[in-house]
Symmetry: C2
Subunit: 236 residues, 2 copies
């Protein structure tokens, strides 16, 4: 049994206030403390198990929110948007907005590692979701404050085509279904900068061409090919 000192508990209460959670009766403070303890503090008692649970929590909530907000969208679009919503970058951004690092116990040296920052912020955010979910075994402590964040972020992604990352979404699918990565073949058709069809990309899965597309940059052509593949093969 872990007893939290009153200073730590106060700290965790402030953290939940920041999330906007007013009713904290069912919160397990022990789990919450664990969620905000980095492995550099303890190899045994840290956020890793909760992160494992929280990773599924965010995926499920994101799926529900997308279905509720965009009931007419295709599953391909859902998968593309969700892959951005649950990415380390997005989760770290949420964590950063709440100043989650102030409540996370971790070794001084590690905290200053700028490159790792995105990963441990995202991990701690997932662990926080895991702790709140496991406190009540439902989404009552999660959805009230997480839904608005996801809805806003999903709207940004949905309305900005340049943000849509079909390459990640396609890769997630080929990995899940075929255990291999898609391969991109790009050729420069024209040296003219800014020309819409400057690059032509094809995306292949072993011997099977999944899709093709054009773009002003190599990356944009690959995204166009991935989008084509996504809608013609994955969700046809």
């Amino acid at each position: 049994m872990v007893f939290l000192d009153s200073r730590r508990k106060k700290q965790l209460q402030i953290c939940l206030q920041k999330l906007g959670l007013s009713d904290t009766k069912s919160v397990s403070w022990k789990l919450l403390d664990l969620a905000l303890t980095h492995p550099t503090i303890s190899r045994e008692h840290n956020y890793q198990q909760l992160e494992f649970v929280g990773d599924s929590v965010i995926r499920l909530v994101a799926a529900e929110v997308l279905l509720e907000t965009y009931p007419q969208e295709s599953v391909g679009e859902f998968a593309a948007i969700r892959s951005i919503l649950v990415s380390d970058r997005t989760l770290a951004e949420f964590a950063e907005n709440y100043g989650l690092d102030r409540y996370l116990l971790m070794s001084e040296g590690f905290a200053q590692d700028k490159i790792g920052r995105v990963y441990w912020l995202a991990d701690a955010f997932e662990a926080l979701l895991g702790a709140l979910y496991l406190s009540s075994h439902n989404m009552d402590l999660v959805r009230p404050w997480l839904d608005p964040l996801l809805i806003q972020k999903a709207a940004e992604i949905h309305s900005d085509p340049a943000r849509q990352n079909y390459k990640d979404a396609l890769q997630e699918w080929t990995q899940g279904e075929h255990k291999i990565l898609p391969q991109y073949r790009v050729i420069e058709q024209d040296k003219n900068q800014g020309y819409e069809q400057r690059f032509f990309a094809e995306v292949w899965l072993k011997d099977r061409k999944l899709g093709a597309g054009y773009g002003r940059s190599k990356k944009m052509a690959e995204q166009a090919a991935a989008k084509d593949a996504f809608f013609s093969v994955v969700y046809s």
Copy 2:
């Protein structure tokens, strides 16, 4: 608004009885009908959106069940077991045991495709979980019958080292964290069949060696290397 004919509703009720669900008051029959409708029946109204949700439901329930059943196990072990629990093969096996194909509406021709069978059975099973979760927005219609299945399957996987698939688990991690696949390099050290150290495998992530191991077969050596990587790098 979709109204189900009484024959279809009766069919769906029998399906839930088979799962062992007695209290079906909160079930959305409309969602359940959708979950058991293959895209060959309708391009618009089929199980795809529910499968998208259900995929997260099974991952979350599996995470909870593993944490509850094996609280002392490492996260590496959880990830390895879960990757088998949520695989198409396992889900299709569950679906097969319940005779789920008898309740699934799909075109005759497609139903006879033996190769695709594992995929559509797994998809329909996930969609069923999605429909039950979305009926109540909690796990009340899911965990009572799914937990025992997962606990039994997890015990089989946990107790049989040969079933442990560290390659899949490692790949899931490198994909998630680094967006690349691990590479295996295997050498045959000895032609002696049955020799425990006949093959030696290393697993690399770009220029970084993650782990190494021996085995009687190429596959076993790769699994040993993946396991080494898993515990020395992923969950160290």
